[in-house]
Subunit: 209 residues, 2 copies
């Protein structure tokens, strides 16, 4: 790498600072939206929460809607990436489904405020954003459904329509944002393991007795 | 029964009419709150949706908050009553749990708008109402947890902390308000049966193989 000029170093620092402030604003907005609801929060609140004036926030985001959109689309994308890492391993369907449920539960427990916002504030998105979110949801569900269907085809899973299984499994995990307590008696990993185990066991095709 | 006087008949009709209008207002508010969110809806909207003026609504409810409270507390009470009918039968824990999960899923699918409001608008209740809702939720969960614990004690269920099982089972059912489609390929009863079966099977204690 060529040695950096002073100007490049300054630009690097400025760009890192900007990225940092952007993240700070998104984190502040996430906490406030989750606590009070999107409509009840103003750009002033988001700024004041960080000791900034609202002009700082407007430098990074053109509107409250853009903040909401960034929150929703970026984190959903991280959920999707983590599931794709599993599906790309081409594991046997039973093993894959168990890992995917476990990962989804962990993603929710790592982002409970986000899951709350995602669940409650979809109506606040504009029509184009809503369409995009629905597409992302369909893609996400489809990853789970095709693994379940592959398992049914191999005789591993019970013949239950995959959208019912996936609606149930994701719902079980999504609801964690309501009750999961990081200070509770079980760790996120333990809860995720229990959920993966209950669902895998519950879906297994057994010989008639 | 003594013959009714004209005044009694008139009073009967008036009281039936009042009860009817009350229900109409609650149904209108439920639909609007679920669609647009509590904060975005005015008493005017609730009234206009029925072709009334807002003074009619104020005759029955002193505020928008009272409408929300009536919606939340009455329907939650109906959920609770239906589960208590099952627990009072003193069935074996595995049979009881399966019936309770099935019933909870059906209650959600019969009241998807309500479940959405209950889930999204708790922050809009006043502190006393919120405390009361939390107590109702604890009582509801406790009915499920004690059945699960009885099952563990009898060696029927896996030794998993009951709050994890109940959080998972209720979450699985609660999420139905997001995706259940009354015009879908499966009936509410079929979905409820699948959920009850997956969870019961997933919770069964099996001899080590």
């Amino acid at each position: 790498m060529p040695p950096k000029t002073k100007a490049t170093v300054r630009a690097d620092i400025a760009s890192r600072k900007q990225a940092f402030v952007r993240e700070e604003i998104l984190a502040s907005a996430t906490a406030l939206f989750a606590e009070r609801g999107y409509r009840a929060v103003t750009i002033d609140d988001v700024a004041a929460n960080l000791g900034y004036t609202k002009s700082v926030v407007y430098y990074y985001f053109k509107s409250k809607n853009e903040i909401l959109w960034q929150i929703i689309s970026r984190i959903f994308d991280s959920f999707l990436q983590k599931i794709m890492v599993i599906t790309e391993q081409n594991l046997p369907p039973d093993e894959a489904l168990s890992k995917m449920v476990r990962q989804h539960a962990l993603s929710v427990m790592e982002n409970p405020q986000w899951t709350s916002i995602f669940n409650k504030e979809e109506a606040e998105l504009d029509p184009t954003q809503r369409r995009q979110v629905r597409r992302m949801k369909r893609d996400y569900d489809a990853l789970f459904e095709s693994v379940y269907e592959a398992g049914v085809a191999k005789g591993l899973f019970r013949k239950i329509p995959s959208h019912v299984i996936v609606g149930g499994a994701l719902g079980m995990c999504n609801w964690l944002y309501v009750w999961y307590d990081p200070k509770g008696s079980l760790s996120a990993e333990q809860i995720a393991d229990h959920f993966a185990s209950i669902l895998s066991t519950g879906c297994v095709e057994r010989p008639a007795t």
